[in-house]
Symmetry: C2
Amino acid sequence: MSGEHPPVADRGFETLRWRNGTFELLDQRALPAQCVYLALNSAQAVADAIRSMVVRGAPAIGCAAAYGMALEARRLQGGSRKDFESGIERAFETLSKSRPTAVNLFWALERMRARMKAAPELTPAEIAAALLAEAQAISAEDIRLNRLMGTHGGALLRDGARVLTHCNAGALATAGHGTALGMIRSAVQSGKRISVVVDETRPFLQGARLTAWELQQDDIPVTLIADSAAGFLMSRGDVDAVVVGADRVAANGDVANKIGTYSLAVLAQRHAVPFYVACPLSTIDRSIASGADIPIEERAAEEVTGYGSMRWAPPEVGVRNPVFDVTPAELVTALITEKGVTMAPDRRKIEQLFAT
Amino acid sequence: MSGEHPPVADRGFETLRWRNGTFELLDQRALPAQCVYLALNSAQAVADAIRSMVVRGAPAIGCAAAYGMALEARRLQGGSRKDFESGIERAFETLSKSRPTAVNLFWALERMRARMKAAPELTPAEIAAALLAEAQAISAEDIRLNRLMGTHGGALLRDGARVLTHCNAGALATAGHGTALGMIRSAVQSGKRISVVVDETRPFLQGARLTAWELQQDDIPVTLIADSAAGFLMSRGDVDAVVVGADRVAANGDVANKIGTYSLAVLAQRHAVPFYVACPLSTIDRSIASGADIPIEERAAEEVTGYGSMRWAPPEVGVRNPVFDVTPAELVTALITEKGVTMAPDRRKIEQLFAT
């Protein structure tokens, strides 16, 4: 388990990787202009990378946080057991504060902590090795689950379908293959002709920068639109399905996802376009009764007043920048997880997903 | 009528003006960073300014096109009557092709042509003087109608209302005061505390650049959001009314307006938020039966793949850039014109507006 991260054969990039004893993240802030990797060696560095959006996407954040714990364990393995344990605890806190909405972050950190507590007899060095193996396992498992979701969800897309997606729920948002884009990718790999419409997804432009680029790498036809053009396309009959990922799903099936998802779901319902949400079970937070209780991150004004170094809004304008919203379960045609397709998800059906 | 354009006392800018024998447009592409005026002296120059968005907004485009006709008449007044008449006809064609959706453009051009035809006995120089007077009258009338709409529509907004608007239907989209922002401005001038939420309005960012700046000039509190955040704010109960302008209204009350308007109307209906459309009668095109027949302009891909000189989407990505959409009349709570407030507009009520 100390070797390379499993390579993702079908693309020329890896969202995150363990290579020659170093953890690297593809810097998504620089895409698509540059494809550069940042090497990180501490929990703080990983937390900073998550906060500053070097890596984003609920499953990828979870994988990165797991590596953050593993990196910290390696960094501290030569010290006393007491320093090691308190350092690991600090790493847990630091990473858990990096972003509030995506639940996979907390899920992965809990899984890393459980791995550590399951082996109280080990030395710090042995724990560090076990945590690295666990982080690698989480990433490998993420890819495996995405492929399962792709198979289940891809079957929902007919040959020739024009699929609208939002933000990036692709290989770049996961350890590989993707959730929403995994469905599309699997449908294409099964021989279907799928074309994708992606909205640019202001303010961070994940659609314009990441999804457009990622689909180009796989030669999947992609058309970029402004966020506000989705309703027009649906009104003209140009969208056959909407497919998105999720940052957190409540026990009743309400879905927190990138800001704008809710509007797409409302429009899809009006136009009788199926609205699909693809995510692993680790994105479902059964401790949260409904979407109203999911914390919604609000980010800096500077994300909305311009982009990068460019400012276009007047100075001192007030800004609100909620970066997620909540789509009520009633608007979700189906939830796609590694367990299969759950039509019209609700509390009872979601409980059953965990029971079987 | 050969004097200055009537000054707009309540602001430090004029969208268009006739000054010292020169027609000038505020270059809205440079706002809010710079407030510069471009001097124009031919119909072709005005058509280019309309096409390249130096000036935008249905009523302002109409006023500018009228000045374009007047400028061409002045330019050609020293030549033969035959050259003058064919030149004016070419100017009409050139200006009418500058943008396809906003009907005020065609309305203003027809009015200018009618003015010319009403005086066949005049010399070219006399016609040129008459056309300049007519262009000035159209602009002065636009401001007067906006103030009337402001009075009618402002009464719909309660003290303390949080009003969401889209794009810019303000002084910058008209000869002065504005349509949607005119309602807000009039409500504020009547002593009500109104706060405004404006979405940035990709791709041309009229909300972030123009509406935010224009409201700041009047000290009206304004908060900028991403286009896709409007649904979230409505779902949290943070929006009391939506107010927009229009580029063309069909005989049945369907409204063509800036791309994204339709999505806001659908969301407003879901959240029982009133959805108001403010426009002069000249924006209503009774020759068009329904919104399905309104031509929707699609603009260049470069507007969506970045902004200004900055590119963020990958090269060669496909783009669709429809810049208007159609909101069906059933989603319009009220249409506000110079004639008053028309609740739940339909074909019959719109006919009555023109009958009285």
